[in-house]
Symmetry: C2
Subunit: 179 residues, 2 copies
Amino acid sequence: MPDFVRRVPDGDNRERLICPDCGHIAYENPKIVVGSVVVESGAVLMCRRAIEPRIGFWTLPAGYLELGETIEEGALREAWEEAQAEISLDGILGVFSVSRIGQVQIIFRARFAQGPVFAAGTESLEVGLFGWAEIPWQEIAFPSVRWALEAWRRAGAEPLGAPARNPSEDSRGTRRLPG
Amino acid sequence: MPDFVRRVPDGDNRERLICPDCGHIAYENPKIVVGSVVVESGAVLMCRRAIEPRIGFWTLPAGYLELGETIEEGALREAWEEAQAEISLDGILGVFSVSRIGQVQIIFRARFAQGPVFAAGTESLEVGLFGWAEIPWQEIAFPSVRWALEAWRRAGAEPLGAPARNPSEDSRGTRRLPG
């Protein structure tokens, strides 16, 4: 496989990876993460990660949207894969950019479809329901998990308003890194 | 370049494109489109497409999010590129899945940053402001343009609530096609 070269294709305005032999342009695009804050009696479903990155830390059931899925289908699949939970989606709680690593995260508020039945999926070491005060705040996997939990806290059980977006005081997901 | 083969990588649960020589996995992911309903005195900014697909039809200033951008940065860039407009974002008006072609569209409500100054960018034949009754409904480029316009109509100038999602009665973006 020949090394791709970086140049600006005709009619474009930024550098792309291009195969020097066949001219194929390998577009690199941001990825979409879909997930849920699944709420039961004021507590939230969280998963302790069995995989890198951040193995052993706590996250929400969430993961990459697959080709051919709607965002809703992806969120349901992730809740099943990571927490063996069947859920019903309520609405979009937050949309967060993590541009530093090329991600956009769309997080729903959800509930259990038929009562709080759950178990660790293959990507989780354990899963559990946590009231606000019991959330393992010192062992959260990613900043966006905290942003989503705080958005849930602000929204409570009320009808959802416009989704939360990146908190202005926290640039961890979007700041340019040196170099 | 060897032909990629389709198989399920170790630890995964679906087929991916894999290079038989080096084992590189070419993940195919949905793409993110960001755009805006830019409102001025009750009228909305629309662009007539100078490029395929749907050349000559009307759309909103919108396009693919680039790697390294936040959704907000992408929406501002697209308004500039397609309509030479400097805009301020208000909030997220709609999040639409077009899973049939692997897209998620995040559409903001916006206004002009410094008055209604705009012009056709290189991807537009013409741009204009349209009141609801003047929108060229018979020449709309994509179903999601209509969904976004209808979400704007419902929201009016009020504070935004939870974003609109795919209308349940319109499956054009998400239905499985025969074959």
